[in-house]
Amino acid sequence: MASRWVRSKSPWLIHFNTGGCNGCDIEFVAAITPRFDIERFGIILQGSPRHADILAVTGPVTLQIADRLKRVYEQMPDPKFVVALGACAVSGSPFKDCYSVHGGVDTVIPVDAYVPGCAPKPEAMIYGIAKLIQKMRGGDKNG
């Protein structure tokens, strides 16, 4: 119980672009500016996957980056969570069935929360992460 409370109070993010158009990344960077101030919820952006709890993925997973994405995911210590930000990360959207694209993020690693939109607004991203934090507190996921 205490572990769940503690985990939901200090979710640290790491951001990974799997070959997107940079639109979602700009919105993601906007979401961590002082205007939205997500440090209120204890969220900090970390540089190293070893320090992070939540992997925020943007972009369709290309064939080249699929292995790298898997490796970054495996470098994170358990318990770990994944958010797919934007239409491409959710399903591969306009690039689905493209010769160089693997598909959405959930074709490579398990995803806990999806945020649709092209690109989703910072508010939508924060809402998605807040939903994930609720899930973490409820103990929906083992660990």
């Binding site: 503690v6 200090s10 002082p34 209120r40 320090h51 210590p77 358990d78 318990p79």
Partner: protein, 318 residues
């Protein structure tokens, strides 16, 4: 008597009190940093986010502890503990609840300088044992930074010792209260040099070259996770407490009783002021380049520190 000694070491001015202080100062630092950037900072964890550093610490304790295959296992697992123990041991020397430290002895100022060098060597070992390219670059940078700030730091520490004619921190504090003055008024240059060297020692923003997160991921801490990272964060918080306690004791009069106000409160107010100054510097400046840091330390800070010693010897600073 033994029971009281144990109580002092473990509970009141000892370990438990210092851990609480470390978490409190991290909260003050983050909150003030946020205020400078026109935002709230931690808000929903406990009242006003007071429990945020505790939540971060506990979360890291609950996390999986990964040990990379390539690293030197023994050094990798022992270094985080050493990193916590070193500042904690040093804090016992500094007078907090009265005018004498818990284990004050003659020459403890030299011991503090020794511990500062040892902490950088711990950081170096931490990066070196991880065997990751980012960690090694970070640890080499940290050693390079130590070579630059160590000498001005030593000279700035010698200033109050010459004035008080003693190498013990407790007697420097007593000297200041006996002469009804502060080191800050007598040696303003020395205070400035010491403050800048403390920023470099703590690897705070103008000097966060060893863990520059835009260049080398997280520097020497890159490969640490779970419990080990929690220890490093606690060690960093204790280091901030140590730095603010040192500045308070040597330059701001330390734990003086002020009328009916107990010395602990005076000490806390003064060291909180130092912590706020540290986080203000962190919020205002951008990172120096490596060459700017080295050139600045050797070309400007060192002559200024020597000038302060000369002024004291001429009787102008005392």
């Amino acid at each position: 008597m033994l029971a009281y000694d144990l109580f002092q070491l473990i509970v009141f001015p000892g370990a438990l009190f210092l851990f609480c202080l470390a978490f409190l100062y991290e909260w003050v630092d983050r909150k003030f940093f946020a205020k400078v950037q026109n935002r709230y900072g931690p808000l929903y964890t406990g009242t006003l986010g007071l429990l945020q550093p505790v939540a971060d610490f506990l979360k890291l304790l609950y996390k999986e502890d990964l040990v990379p295959k390539a690293c030197d296992r023994n050094i990798f697992s022992s270094v985080p503990i050493v990193y916590v123990v070193l500042p904690l041991t040093t804090l016992f020397i500094i007078p907090i609840s009265g005018q004498t430290g818990l284990v004050a002895f003659n020459g403890d100022l030299i011991f503090v300088m020794f511990i500062f060098a040892l902490m950088t060597i711990t950081v170096f070992l931490a990066g070196w044992s991880s065997m990751s390219r980012f960690s090694i670059i970070g640890s080499v940078r940290s050693a390079l930074q130590m070579l630059s700030y160590e000498i001005p730091l030593g000279l700035a520490l010698i200033g109050p010792a010459i004035a008080a004619k003693s190498l013990s921190i407790s007697s420097i504090v007593q000297w200041q209260s006996a002469n009804a003055t502060w080191g800050l008024w007598l040696q303003p240059i020395g205070f400035g040099v010491f403050f800048i060297c403390m920023l470099a020692e703590l690897e705070l923003v103008p000097f966060d070259i060893p863990e520059a997160d835009t260049e080398i991921v997280a520097g020497w801490r890159t490969e640490f996770s779970g419990r080990k990272l929690a220890m490093f964060r606690l060690g960093r918080d204790l280091e901030i407490v140590l730095a603010s306690a040192l500045v308070t004791s040597l330059f701001l009069g330390g734990a003086q009783p002020l009328g009916l106000i107990p010395p602990v409160l005076v000490f806390l107010v003064k060291s909180l002021f130092v912590v706020i100054m540290l986080s203000f510097a962190r919020a205002l400046f951008a990172r120096f380049r490596i060459d700017q840091m080295i050139a600045g330390m050797w070309k400007y800070l060192l002559p200024i520190a020597i000038l302060q010693i000369i002024l004291i010897q001429l009787g102008l600073g005392v």
